[in-house]
């Protein structure tokens, strides 16, 4: 699997198509969805390659679910195309969904039927062989003991698991999952991740839409980050992390004086004196020069530790950062290299388009101390 970041929108077919001698699992070009005055999806390009566990990230209302609905042929793009293994679900209908399974938003079932009956129905709609797999998939998601119970009495988590079971009936080569861990308790989330990991290990390409950053960080090797209907980054997660830049924290004998030195020193950027001490961004060469400068200024170094940006930090920079900060990471993500931006510490609200054509104003009041697993 190629590891380099690519500019969002740059054709990757040549790279991807050759992976296993078959068409790319998901290839979207210039996808647009407009609901009257609201632009829900704005020229999105996606490149999911065979074997990827591909994270599709974005705040609520960013256009993730609308994009997935278009990918599955549930809604018509206003512009652009999407292909699954080279087939267009809008033009080719169910034929384009062969080898593809998953769900958008919460999986839905007939509440008046049992789990087994629901799966029998779906197996009948899948055709040859699916019915024979019902017991197996129920066992995989550990719903066998409740298989005869009506789905109307199922908890949210059980329905999510039944959604996975329904997807597995199709023996998918591509699994499209929209927020599969939403509403699950911590154990349920852990188990869901383990299942997705196992499916990926067995060769299934996974397109995982989520705003659970730890989930994406744990599972995905490539990501697309979408904000206000546009892809602001697409590429390898490791590249995103690297391009997020190395930050440092400094504890000194005189933080006030040290901050003056930091700000005067070449190659040191975004120096701040925060709750946990001084922080700044720089490459190693400049950090070496800084230590000498601090010594020359009579400031003792108590601790100087590197800190890599977390996915959460990067996510907020890309989706909330305004002006230079957000643009810097976007530039890094899509062009490679460039200036490193500082961690955005923004709160605010963003008006975003919703799938049903309305507009929602959702507070994005996440601070940088939100739960997140650092990429180290």
């Amino acid at each position: 699997m190629a590891d380099e970041a690519r500019p969002a929108g740059v054709t990757a077919t040549e790279n991807a198509a050759g992976d296993m001698g078959e068409a790319q699992p998901v290839r979207a070009r210039g996808l647009v969805k407009r609901y009257k005055e609201v632009l829900a999806v704005d020229h999105i390009d996606l490149n999911v390659r065979t074997g990827d566990v591909y994270g599709f990230l974005g705040p609520n209302g960013a256009g993730k679910t609308t994009t997935l609905r278009m990918a599955l042929g549930l809604i018509m793009p206003t512009e652009g195309t999407v292909q699954l293994f080279g087939r267009d679900p809008i033009r080719e209908g169910a034929r384009a969904l062969e080898g593809v399974a998953g769900f958008v938003e919460a999986p839905r079932f007939y509440p008046y039927l049992s789990a087994r009956k629901n799966l029998e129905l779906l197996a009948a709609l899948d055709g040859t062989g699916a019915k024979a797999r019902i017991a197996e998939v129920l066992q995989i998601v550990e719903l066998s003991p409740r298989a005869e119970h009506r789905v109307g009495g199922y908890s949210h988590g059980m329905r999510q698991r039944l959604g996975i079971a329904a997807a597995l009936l199709r023996r998918p080569r591509l699994l499209i999952l929209d927020e599969p861990a939403t509403g699950l308790d911590p154990a349920g989330m852990r188990d869901m991740r383990a299942l997705i990991r196992r499916l990926a290990d067995e060769g299934i390409t996974v397109l995982l839409s989520s705003h659970q950053l730890p989930e994406v960080q744990e599972l995905c090797d490539r990501v697309a980050i979408v904000d206000r209907g546009r892809v602001v980054y697409e590429g390898a997660l490791s590249d995103l992390r690297r391009q997020g830049g190395a930050g440092y924290r400094l504890r000194s004998t005189d933080d006030t004086r040290a901050l003056e030195v930091l700000r005067a020193q070449a190659g040191i950027e975004h120096a701040t004196n925060g709750e946990h001490g001084l922080s700044f961004q720089a490459d190693e060469q400049h950090v070496g020069a800084l230590s000498l400068a601090l010594g020359a200024a009579g400031v003792g170094i108590l601790a100087l530790t590197p800190e890599l940006a977390t996915l959460e930090d990067l996510f907020f920079r890309l989706t909330e950062g305004n002006g230079a900060q957000g643009d810097a990471v976007r530039d890094n993500g899509t062009r490679g290299g460039g200036e490193t931006a500082s961690i955005a510490d923004t709160t605010g609200a963003t008006a975003t388009a919703t799938a049903d054509g309305g507009r929602s104003t959702e507070p994005h009041a996440q601070s940088s101390n939100r739960t997140g697993v650092e990429i180290r």
Partner: protein, 296 residues
């Protein structure tokens, strides 16, 4: 999934795309069978069928309790106690104008919209069936339900009538007397003939169900249309369009109960109903094919 690592291995993904590409996909009849199974599993399905059964039973019980059977108007009303076969004809007469269209609309108006509202439409549209197959199967299921309601009512009315007043010859609308067995055949032929306008109502219900995405709006809209046509039928000066109104076709089956059989109103009903049903289904197909499925 508490111990996902201990779970059985997931079947490997198909690595032969060609094999998948040629996998046999389900037929529309398979989808239709499952639509019927869904209907059978829902309590509300039995509401309409219950009405179709209950009315003949109430009618027969009340007539058994009455001593004066002097009905005016219909030739079959005067034969209630003379032949049990008069009961299903009278019940068809009573129910043809509103009750049976209502029962047909209950399911036809709900059959697409309910799935849209519950989000299950997206579930079935991401399997191996095309949108046209899904709509075709749903339409067939709505028609099946309407047909079932009509014949269930006819069977119950016939059994109750014959049990109360015997299996005897009956006099037709033109005054000819036909044997009991021929009368029975005519009763069911008349019900079959009535299906033409009734299933047209169901087709309109499917269109409204598809277009409105709202069960209540579709059911009320379908019945509202029937009521509107009745009103138009009664407006002086509009007599010229009466033969082409859907509601006018609800009694075309009378032609079968004449001797010799009067086929003219039946053929007329067939093509007039086609003018309502075919565009409705075509419009429903176009809407369903192009619509965004974003519910649920």
């Amino acid at each position: 999934m508490s111990s996902a690592t201990a779970a059985p291995p997931v079947a490997p993904p198909a690595t032969a795309p060609r094999a998948i590409a040629h996998a046999r996909r389900p037929s529309t009849l398979t989808v239709w069978r499952w639509e019927l199974r869904k209907l059978v599993s829902q309590k509300r399905t039995y509401l309409g069928l219950g009405l179709a059964v209950l009315l003949p039973l109430i009618f027969v019980v009340v007539q058994n309790l009455r001593h004066d059977h002097g009905h005016g108007g219909s030739i079959f009303a005067t034969q209630i106690t003379q032949s049990g076969l008069a009961t299903p004809v009278l019940m068809l007469e009573f129910q043809a104008y509103f009750m049976l269209p209502l029962i047909a609309a209950l399911v036809a108006g709900d059959i697409v919209a309910a799935e849209d509202g519950n989000g299950t439409l997206k579930t079935i549209l991401t399997r191996s069936v095309d949108r046209g197959q899904v709509l075709g199967a749903k339409t067939l299921a709505a028609l099946t339900y309407g047909t079932t309601a009509v014949f269930l009512s006819a069977v119950v009315a016939t059994i109750a009538g014959v049990a109360s007043w015997g299996f005897h010859h009956i006099t037709t609308l033109s005054g000819s007397v036909v044997s009991a067995s021929e009368g029975l055949l005519l009763v069911f032929a008349a019900n079959a003939c009535y299906l033409i306008p009734l299933l047209t109502v169901a087709c309109i219900g499917v269109l409204l169900s598809t277009a409105t995405r709202n069960s209540t709006a579709a059911v009320v809209g379908t019945i509202g249309l029937v009521i509107l046509l009745y009103i138009v039928q009664g407006i002086p000066g509009l007599e010229g369009i009466q033969p082409y109104l859907l509601t006018e076709q609800f009694h075309s089956w009378h032609g079968l109960l004449r001797t010799p059989t009067d086929w003219a109103p039946i053929w007329h009903s067939a093509w007039v109903c086609a003018l309502y049903a075919i565009p409705s289904l075509f419009a429903a197909y176009l809407v369903f094919l192009r619509r965004d499925v974003a519910g649920g």
